[in-house]
């Protein structure tokens, strides 16, 4: 019994160690190392083509790493005696034969593990597909396909959930539903690892954050730390005496720029200091505001060098 509990101490932990995956000459994932812990929702953030899907595919053994390891509970995925109860994965929506009904697709997967029909009906109800469960998947919308993919992931009631862009194609109600669902699953002590290329999406769901760009790890931190750490705070001032105020504010560590006439953007100090400076010199202020860097800004700043497909210029956009 003791050995069993010892193994349980890493229950639900996803460990990626020096994972590298090349497709021909192209390196999709480059020496990536991180761990995902149970009990919280961990977001996996990166621009398109950053290697998120490849990493997730490596975790469930669909792609063999060129080098390095991807393990869950200290084991390679193929070593599990009941893979569907260990890890539930949504990798691409519609990993389903278009001619098969949602119910039969789930049933076929359930039968591999001796999962009863009762559980199949349960997950169909859970994702809200009961009305279309008997219909061929080929006619499903993207959102319905996503719901079916989530049902597949939940089928074995697994300890670890890996979801690649689960909100794609979901309507606002569906997005809200999946956020609550994932938070609830994490609260039960499960590991929830979901990817997105939208920071704003993850900020509302995830507590922890793994950020990658061009296959490399850029950040492994909490969402809060990520935002406060890399988000720049700016003070915006509108003043008829902008030029004078800029002179007075100048100092070490403080940068002042003027995006337009009468407007200043100050970094490296606080609104209170700017206000006091203005008052001390009798300068008029029309507006004084603190802009916190948005999550999206923080993400963009971090991945600026790591975006693979970047528009070279506006004109290139045909």
């Amino acid at each position: 019994m003791k050995a069993r509990f010892a193994r349980r101490s890493v229950l639900g932990m996803i460990e990626i160690e020096h994972l590298t995956k090349r497709y021909g000459k192209k390196t999709a994932v480059d020496d990536l190392t991180f761990a995902v812990k149970p009990g919280v929702v961990t977001g996996f953030l990166g621009p398109n083509g950053a290697g998120k899907s490849t990493t997730m595919r490596a975790i469930v053994g669909l792609d063999a790493p060129t080098s390095g390891l991807a393990r869950v509970n200290g084991k390679h995925y193929s070593e599990f005696r009941s893979p569907l109860t260990e890890v539930g994965a949504l990798l691409e929506a519609k990993s389903v034969h278009a001619g098969r009904s949602a119910y039969k697709h789930l049933l076929a997967l359930a039968r591999t593990h001796g999962i009863p029909k009762r559980r199949v009906t349960e997950v169909i109800d859970l994702v809200g597909l009961h009305e279309v469960a008997g219909k061929r998947v080929g006619g499903f919308s993207l959102g319905m396909g996503q719901r079916l993919g989530i049902a597949v992931a939940l089928l074995g009631d697994p300890a670890v959930l890996i979801l690649d862009e689960p909100v794609n194609g979901l309507d606002p109600d569906g997005v809200k539903w999946i956020r609550l669902l994932l938070k609830g699953l994490a609260a039960e002590g499960r590991t929830v690892f979901l990817s997105s290329h939208l920071m704003s999406e993850l900020a509302q769901t995830a507590e922890h954050l793994i950020v990658i760009g061009q296959g490399r790890l850029l950040a492994d931190t909490t969402v809060d730390a990520f935002v406060t750490g890399s988000g720049q705070t700016r003070v915006r001032v509108v003043s008829p005496d902008a030029a004078q105020l800029a002179e007075r504010l100048a100092g070490p560590g403080i940068t002042v720029s003027s995006p337009e006439r009468g407007v200043l953007e100050v970094t490296g100090t606080e609104a209170a200091v700017v206000g006091q400076t203005a008052a001390a010199h009798g300068l008029v202020l029309h507006e004084l505001r603190t802009d916190r860097g948005s999550l999206e800004d923080a993400f963009m700043q971090l991945t600026a060098d790591a975006v693979e497909y970047r528009q070279t210029s506006e004109g290139a956009n045909r």
Binding site: L84, S95, R111, H113, G156, E188
Partner: protein
């Protein structure tokens, strides 16, 4: 709850312990997958209609004053439809694998069974068994039906107990199972529907026939050993004139299946899904 209390992370979630991946589970899964597609029903229905219908039509149109007769010709005529049906059966065999790749359902399948090889064996076993049962029945049904049509002609009065007749009929059944399995294996190697069907029809079915027209003698020495030709001897009531003996025919069917599934297995393990 006591288990949870003893770990360093008291909230750790423990997945259900009563679900297990098993060989029996994979067989049931493949069975469910096979019959939950409309194409399975359509293609197998076509195969059944062609094997019985063509046998009946050919049997009715054979002139009664045929100079030739005997058990060999009677079996050949009655089984003409079975040979054609083998094309449907082979195409469906290919689709059971390539359909998973083209639709992406292979990712779900291989996530559930990450050792992968067991999926290939389960697919082959289920499809092979379905074809064996269905065409076992069709071979004998067609034989008795055509014998009823032939009665009173030189081709009539053939009995299962006649020399070589039962063996030839079982040979037809074995041939169609062999071709079904061969096609399924080709599907697993090529993973693409159009490519696999093209390869099967072009290389397995037609090429050995065309090759005999080539001007080199060695070609005609080799063609009896081509994967699509090796079952020929077991189809004959009197195999005396055939290049391969009945035993060699079985041996070569085995060799080609081992080669095909060996390659399919190695590739399945090595390639990304």
């Amino acid at each position: 709850m006591t288990a949870a209390a003893m770990t360093d992370r008291p909230t750790a979630y423990t997945p259900p312990a009563n679900y297990r991946l098993s060989a029996a589970g994979l067989l049931r899964s493949e069975w469910t997958k096979l019959w939950s597609l409309r194409s399975t029903w359509i293609v197998l229905l076509c195969a059944v209609v062609f094997s019985g219908g063509l046998g009946a039509i050919i049997a009715s149109s054979v002139p009664t004053d045929q100079a030739f007769g005997g058990a060999g010709s009677a079996v050949d005529f009655s089984m003409a439809g079975i040979s054609l049906a083998s094309v449907f059966v082979a195409v469906l065999g290919i689709l059971t694998v390539t359909g998973e790749y083209s639709t992406g359902s292979i990712r779900s399948t291989m996530s559930a069974a990450p050792k992968r090889l067991s999926v290939l064996w389960a697919k082959a076993a289920v499809y092979g068994a379905v074809v064996a049962v269905l065409f076992g029945a069709m071979v004998f049904l067609t034989f008795f039906m055509t014998q009823a049509i032939f009665s009173g002609t030189a081709l009539g009065g053939v009995s299962l107990s006649d020399d070589g007749v039962l063996r030839a009929l079982l040979g037809y059944m074995a041939m169609i199972v062999y071709l079904a399995l061969l096609a399924l294996g080709i599907g697993a190697i090529l993973r693409n529907s159009a490519g696999s069907i093209g390869f099967y029809i072009g290389v397995i079915m037609i090429l050995p026939q065309l090759a005999t027209l080539l001007p080199w003698n060695w070609v005609s020495d080799v063609t009896p050993y081509a994967p699509g030709n090796v079952p020929n001897a077991i189809l004959l009531v009197d195999p005396a004139g055939s290049t391969l003996s009945v035993g060699e025919s079985w041996l070569w069917m085995g060799i080609w299946l081992v080669v095909t599934y060996g390659l399919a297995g190695v590739l399945l393990k090595r390639r990304d899904v």
